[in-house]
């Protein structure tokens, strides 16, 4: 990332200055910054500030609607794949629907404040709006597939850090293309661009 930024700054004043002014190219008005409320979907950056942050690789820490304690669940012997069901089967590990939460929490610890929040969503017929912790920015145009990595024996912690000690999941590993390539090279996996970018 450092080189990336240095390269950006080193290149020319023009590119950075103009970029800072307006690097977010958008097709509609950017006044409304809250995502999801617009009547249309677009991969455009919602604001200029947003575009600048992404360019420089700064990512906001996601704020979860519910303080989910990973450590407690893992300590109770629940394996990652119980909730992240897709991880060995397909591209997406998946965040479970609140129906899965309620399978246990209808009875277990149902008096806790955070569990009540889950129940609240469940009863209204909606799902918990979890925020992604990892995931790639749309402008990376990356399609990551979990299953082949699991099959190749890559441990979850390799990319996600030691979740056993986390409450709410945090981005413990900075995943960028160099990180991916490092491993791919070491494992002699394909480094062809279209392996991931399509």
């Amino acid at each position: 990332m450092l080189q990336h930024r240095l390269g950006a700054l080193a290149f020319s004043l023009v590119s950075v200055a103009t970029f800072l002014l307006c690097s977010c190219a958008r097709s509609r008005s950017a006044n409304d910054s809250s995502p999801g409320s617009e009547p249309f979907f677009t991969p455009a950056h919602p604001t200029v500030a947003n575009a600048v942050k992404e360019f420089l690789g700064w990512r906001a820490t996601p704020i979860q609607p519910i303080a989910f304690p990973h450590n407690k669940h893992i300590a109770n012997g629940i394996a990652c794949m119980v909730c992240h069901t897709g991880v060995s089967k397909g591209p997406v590990a998946g965040i479970p629907s609140d129906k899965l939460c309620m399978r246990c929490h209808e009875f277990l610890a149902s008096d806790r404040a955070e569990v009540k929040k889950v129940a609240g969503y469940f009863n209204s017929g909606l799902d918990v709006p979890w925020q992604r912790v990892y995931g790639f920015s749309p402008s990376a145009h990356v399609k990551f597939n979990h299953a082949p990595h699991i099959r190749a024996g890559v441990d979850c912690s390799r990319c996600h850090g030691d979740v056993t000690n986390m409450t709410v999941a945090v981005r413990a590993v900075q995943i960028n293309m160099g990180f991916c390539l490092g491993c791919h090279r070491a494992q002699q996996a394909s480094t062809d661009c279209v392996t991931c970018h399509f």
Binding site: M1, Q3, H4, L6, G7, A8, A10, F11, S12, V14, S15, T18, F19, L21, C22, S23, C24, A25, R26, S27, V48, F55, N176, M177, G178, F179, L181
Partner: protein, 434 residues
């Protein structure tokens, strides 16, 4: 040749030390137009490159036309001044700096256009080779990358070529001003004291630069032409393009130089220095280039027509008889029919005559770039995918703004340093007129 060294110094320092008030509104007006162009660019960045008129299949339009045009204009300077310096033509003394300045500014403007035209200009730095975590380098096979290096090399070279002969004049200015300007000129004069050793080194450096800059300049426009000639696009994929482009570049460069000189002459009262024989000589040069240009055009058109290959002939007829025919004949008129008599007949080769011819050539050469780019792209191989191109106000504003920008930069420059080299003219006094 009645001037004395003092007179020269007085006349030529005047615009710098005591700038005319009349220039102020002109500068303000030009600045406003440049700002309009800049705003248009910002608007384009914010909204998207789609506000330009480019479309499928004409993916390159006004911006690349401007790019080629301005890079062409930049050949005025350095090349002419370098050749004239090397051939030691005495009439070059008052015009070399005008010419070198054109080069630098035209290059700066020209180099902006690839950025303006990019879909994602904020990522332009990926063209520069630098080590990165992705392990990626730019593609050295791409003519655009050659461009990137050629233009940067040329820009650096031209800057040095401009700044080197500025040193003695800056030292002169340093000694005549105070305050922040003194600091600026001190910096630019690089501690010039006028010792014999320094003069000797300056002459040597200028000689080396003059020799180096010629192949660089030729290579720049050759590579610009290869942006086109390397691709299998009808009428682009041509071996004639490199010399055609270089000739066209020098052609339009000389015209731009003449225009600049006419303006400088009247606005800065340099009638004594930019004398008619300068224009006469440049006029002759322009005539040669006009003939050369026409020869290239004829050769290009004839071979295409005679060859009668299907995709090429479609483009050929598109410009000859199709919707681009008006532009084509305007181009021929501007680049040959009008300038030829004006420059060939000695009586007409006056300052006014060469000026008129030059204006025509600049317009004609801009159209020439446009006609090279747009018709070929609009009629590629599969007729179903044929299309048209129409510029939008954004492109037109930005284009207009760059012309204003050129004028503005030139005006400002003429207020900062003498546009005619004082020491070279002084040196000219010492040697016999040839």
């Amino acid at each position: 040749m009645a001037q004395t060294a003092e007179q020269i110094q007085r006349d030529l320092l005047r615009p710098v030390l005591d700038p005319s008030r009349r220039a102020k509104p002109v500068i303000a007006g030009l600045a406003l137009l440049v700002l309009a162009g800049f705003s248009a660019w910002m608007y384009q960045m914010y909204t998207g490159i789609g506000v330009a008129g480019i479309r499928r299949p004409v993916f390159w339009g006004f911006y690349i036309t401007n790019f080629v045009f301005w890079i062409g204009i930049s050949h005025a300077g350095t090349l002419i001044s370098a050749i004239l310096r090397l051939s030691n033509a005495t009439w070059r003394r008052p015009i070399t700096r005008c010419a070198e300045v054109i080069t630098v500014f035209a290059l700066l403007i020209g180099a902006m256009f690839p950025l303006i035209h990019l879909g994602r200009p904020w990522l332009a730095f990926w063209l520069a080779p630098y080590p990165n975590q992705r392990g990626l380098w730019p593609n050295y096979r791409s003519p655009l990358l050659w461009d990137f290096f050629a233009i940067n090399t040329y820009l650096i070279g031209s800057l040095i070529f401009l700044l080197l002969p500025l040193i003695p004049d800056c030292a002169l200015l340093r000694d005549n001003v105070t305050g922040w300007r003194n600091k600026l000129y001190s910096l630019l004069s690089l501690g010039w004291r006028g010792t014999q050793k320094q003069w000797h080194r300056l002459e040597a450096a200028m000689h080396i630069m003059a020799i180096l800059i010629i192949p660089v300049a030729v290579s720049v426009h050759t590579i610009v032409s290869w942006d086109f000639a390397m691709t299998p696009v009808p009428m682009w994929h041509s071996t004639i393009f490199a010399p055609y482009f270089v000739a066209g570049a020098i052609f339009s460069g000389i015209a731009a130089l003449i225009i600049a000189m006419v303006f400088l002459r009247s606005s800065l009262h340099l009638e004594e220095y930019l004398r008619p024989e300068c224009f006469d000589n440049l006029g002759k040069l322009l005539l040669v280039m006009s003939l050369l240009w026409f020869y290239f055009l004829f050769a290009e058109r004839l071979t295409t027509w005679y060859g009668n290959a299907r995709p090429e002939i479609a483009v050929f007829w598109l410009t000859q008889r199709g919707p681009y025919r008006h532009l084509f004949w305007v181009m021929v008129g501007c680049n040959f029919v009008l300038p030829f008599p004006l420059l060939a007949i000695k009586k007409l080769r006056t300052i006014a005559g060469t000026f008129l011819a030059s204006v025509a050539v600049v317009i004609g050469m801009w159209i020439e770039r446009y006609l090279i780019i747009v018709p070929s792209l609009s009629h590629k191989f599969l007729p179903y995918a044929w299309g048209t191109y129409r510029p939008t106000w954004v492109e037109i504003t930005i284009t207009a703004a760059t012309f204003c920008g050129m004028a503005l930069l030139y005006l400002l420059f003429s207020e900062v340093v003498p546009v005619v080299s004082i020491w070279e003219l002084k040196a000219g006094l010492r040697e016999p007129v040839r």
